[in-house]
Amino acid sequence: MTPERYRQIKQIFQAVLDIEPKERAAYLAQVCGEDVELRQEVGSLLASHEDAGEFIEIPAAAVITQPYAEPPNTNAAIGQRIGPYQIMRELGHGGMGTVYLATRADDQFKKRVAIKLVRRGMDSDFILRRFRHERQILASLDHPNIARLFDGGTTEDGLPYFVMEYIEGLAIDEYCDRQQLATAERLQLFRTVCSAVQYAHQNLVVHRDLKPSNILITADGTVKLLDFGIAKLLNPEIAGDEIDVTMTGMKLMTPGYASPEQVRGEVITTASDVYSLGVVLYELLTGHRPYQITSTAPQEIERIVCNVEPDRPSTAAQKRMKDEGRRMKRREKFSSPIPHPSSLQGDLDNIVLMAMRKEPNRRYASVSQLSEDLRRHLEGLPVLAREDTFAYRAGKFIQRHKAGVAAALLIAIALIGGMITTMWQARKAERRFNDVRKLANSFLFELHDAIEKLPGATPARALLVKRALEYLDSLAQEAAGDATLQQELAAAYDKVGHIQGNPYSANLGDIEGALQSYQKARAIRESLLAKNTQPTQVRLDLASSYRRISDILMQKNDLANALQHARKALQIIESLPAQELALVQTRREQAAAHESVGEVLKAQGENAASLEQQRRGLQLIEALVTQEPANPAIRRQQAVVLGKIGERLSATGATPEGIEMARKSLAIFSELATAQPGNAQAKRELGVAHNQLGDLYYAASDLKNELEHYRQSLAIREELAAADPANQQLRRDLAVVQGNVGYALAQTGDEAGMVEHYRKSLATFEAMSAAKPEDALLMRDLAAGYDFYGESWKHLATAPSINASQRLMRWQQARYWLERSLKFAQQMQARGLLPGQESGLLANLQQLLNECDSEIAKLKSGATKSK
C-alpha cells in the first residue's frame, strides 16, 4: 500500500464514521464505485474499529506492570445449555469462536454433536440472516464424506451457533503420516476428498476454507469434511447477499491455503476450492506447505500467494528428505514417510502445480477433472496437466518486473531461452554437444556478468541461475557417458554456485543454493574419478570443490564440517604423485588448501595450528614466485597469504613481525593495483590491505600509523563506492572503515570527528540490515558498530581535561550505544545467530554497561551534591 492510498482510505473511513451505521453500506458503495479493494479496506477497518474495544487505550507501561489478567474463562460454558444442547467439553477454539462437544438434552439416546459458538464481536445479525438463507442448501448436503450441519440458532446472549455432526478423527495429513501411507494410498484417499468436494460443488456450495484440519479421517478410515459453507456464513458481505465479495478479506481464511483470488478479496468460485485442494495435496506429498507465510501483513501475504511460484513438489520433497536425513543422525528415524522425490517428478509435479495455478481459469476446470487426472496417473495413463511453457513463464516474468528491469534485457533472456530450447531439440537429433555447451557456458554466464551491475537486475539474475540449473540438471542426466561434458558440467555448476553465494564476490546471497550447486559439481567429479579419467585434473578440481564447500560451510558456521572438507581438499592433493605435485597449478591448489584449513582453524580459535597452515602455504607460493616472478596471480596469492599470516601473528602477540608481514603484503597489493589501474578488484584489495594494516597498528598502539592507514583505505573505498553505488559489498567496506577511522579519532580525543564518521557508518549498517533483516552477517556488523561507537564514547569519557557534566554526558552516550549493541547481540543469540566463539561478547558488553552505570551513578551523586 502507498501513503496516497492510505490517505484515500482514511478520508472515506473518517467520513463513514460520521454517518449513521444504517447508511454506511450505501455510502461506501457510492463513494468507492468500482474500486472493490478500497471498499473492502474501509470495510475491514470499520469492522476492526467496532471490534477494537479498549485496545491500546491504556498506556503500555501500565499494561506491563499489571499482574496478568484472569485468563479467558473458556470453561464457563461447560455444563451450560445452548438451545436444547448440553455442553460437555471444549473441542477447540480459533479465530471464529469455540467448538464444543454437546449432547441434545432432551434426546434419550444422548446423541453427540459438535457446536460451534461464534465469538462475540462478529456480526451476529448478519450471520443469522445468512444462515437462514443458506440453511436449506447446507442441510441438503447429504454425502457420506461430508459432516452434516443439523441446526443453528442464537444463545440467550445473542451469539450465533451451529450444530454439526460430531466427528472423531485425525486431520488428513496426520493420518497419512501415522498410517505411513504410500503415495498411491495417499492419492486414493485424496480422491475421496475430491469426490465429496465435487458433490458439494454440484449443489452450489463452495467450501472456501479447505485445509487438513477440516478434512478428518475417522478410525475406520472414512473421510469427513467439516465446516462446509461455514466460511461463507461467517464472512459478512457488503451490500446484501447478491454480491459475492467478502468484506473482511483476510480475517476468516487461512492464508496458507487461500487462493490468490481469495487473498485479494475477489470473487470466490469452485476454482478456489481446486486451488486449496492443490495445496492440501502438495502438503500430503511433500510434508511441506508450498509457501512459508510467516508474516501477518496482508500485503506480504498477498505478495507471496499471488506472486511467488512454489517449488515443485519433487524439489520440496527433496529438501525435506535432506532435512530429515540430517536430523536422522540424531533421532535415528524418519518422522513421516513422505513419498520419494523422484516419484513426484513429472506427472505429480504437474498435477499439483496445475491445481495451484495463480489464475483460476488456468487451473483444472473442476475438482473432478483434478481427481480424474490423479486416476490417470495412478493407472499409468498420460495426464492432462502440463508444465508451464517457457513462453508463458517469460511472459509472467515480464509482467511482474515491468518496472525493475529493462525490456531489452528480458528480450535477451527470452531469446537465449528460445535458443537453448531449439538447440536442445537439435542436440537430441544431431548430438551437437559443442553448440549446447557453448551456449551454457558463454551465453548464460556472459549474460549474467553483463547484467550483474545493472540496478534492479537481481530478479533477472535469479531467473538466469534458475534456468541455467534446470538446463544443467537435465543435461547431467543425459550426459552420463561423456567424461569431457561431465567436466564442463561440473565447472558450470561451480559458476552457478559462485553467482548464488560465493562469499568472496558479489552474489545473490543464496547460500543454500550455492552449497547445493557446489555439491553437485563435487558429486560429478567424484564419479569421474571413480572412472579414472584424467585423474590429475579431476583431482585438482575435486580438491577445489571441497574447498568451496568448506567456505560455504564456514559461512553457515558449521566449522567441524568445514574443517573436514578443507582437510579433504589438502589430502586429495597430497596424494598426487611427486611429478604432479611439482606442477605450478598443483602447488597453487595445495597452497590454497592449506589456506582453507588455516581459515577454519582460525575460526575455531586454534591460532597456532592456523598459523602453521598459513606458513606452509606461503612456503609453497614463495617457491613459485621465484619460478615465475611476473605472474600477477601468483603474486596476488603471495600477498593474500602474507596478509593473513601478519594478522595471525599480531593476534597471537607477535605484533612487530605481524606488521612486517602485512607491510610486505601491502607493498605487493600496491604494486598490482598500480600495474592495473582499471582493475577495481585490485583496488579493492589494496583498500583491504590498508585497513588491515591499520588494525595491526591499532593492536600495536601506534595511533599515528593506525589513523594513516585507515584514512588511506577510506579514500580508496570512498572512490570505489561512489563508482558503483549499487554494490553492497563496497558499501559495507566503506562503512567498516568509516567506523575504524571514527574509533581512531576517538583515541585522539576528536569528539566531532568521531561522531561524524560513526554517523555515516552506522547509518549504512542500519540501512543494510533493515533491507535484509535475516542476514546474520549484517546483524553482526550493526551490533559491532554500536559496540565500538559505545566504546569510543567510553574512551572520550575518561579524557582528563573535561568537566563533570561533559563526563556524565559521554558516559551516558557510551551506555546508550553499548546497550543497543547488547540488545542486538541478545536477539541474535536468541535466534541462534551468534557463533560459539563470540559467546564472551555478551558478558563483555554487560561488563562495560555495568562500568557505565557505576560511573554515571557516581557522577550523578556528585552533581547533586554540588548543586
Binding site: T2, P3, Y6, R7, K10, F13, Q14, L17, S44, L45, L46, A47, S48, H49, D51, A52, F55, I56, P59, A60, A61, A62, V63, I64, T65, Q66, P67, Y68, A69, P71, P72, G92, H93, G94, G95, K251, T296, A297, P298, V755, R759, N803, A804, S805, Q806, L808, M809, Q812, Q813, R815, Y816, W817, K823, Q826, Q827, A830, K860, A863, S866, K867
Partner: protein, 187 residues
Amino acid sequence: MNTPSHDVTHLLLDWNKGQQDALEQLMPLVYDELRHIAGRYLRKERPDHTLQTTALVHEAYIRLIDQNQANWQNRAQFFGVAAQMMRRILVDHARGHQADKRGGGAAKLSLDEAIEIADQREVDLIALDDALTNLAALDEQQSRIVELRYFGGLTVEEVAEVLKLSPATIKREWSMAKAWLHRELSK
C-alpha cells in the same frame, strides 16, 4: 558549575535551532534518565504498582531540563523524544520477557490459542512495535500519535499540544490508527 540539566537544555535548544546532531546526542541522555525511572517500576519491586508513563516523563523533564531556559515548544519536543524512548524501553522489556518465557519452557501454544490469549490478556508489544513501524511508512503522523499516547502516556490534549493540532483531529486520527493496528494484530 555546569549541571547536567544545563547540557540537556542546551542540546534541546540547539536541536530547536535545527541542529540535527543535537537530537542524536540528546536521545541517549533522555533515554538514560527515563530508563532509570522506569527501571524502578519494571523491576516489579511492587507488583501491584501501576507505572504511570505520564508522570514518569514529567519527572524526567523536570530533572533534566532547566525550566528557566526552556520554553513551551522545547517541552513539546522533549515529550516527543521521551515517547520514542519509552517505546524502545518498553519493547526491549517485552522482548526480554519473551526470551525468559522461551527459556522457561512454557507450554507451546497453537497459533489459534496464542491469538486468543493475546486478544484477551494484553497487547503484544513486539507485534505492535512492528505494526507501528509499518504504519509510519503510510502515515507518519498517525504513528506519532500512537507513540505519544500509548508509549508516552500522553493524553489527547497533550498530544494535541505536542503536535500542534486540535484535540478533535487527534481523536479522529487515533480512531483510524487504532482500527488499523488492531486489524494488523488480529491477523
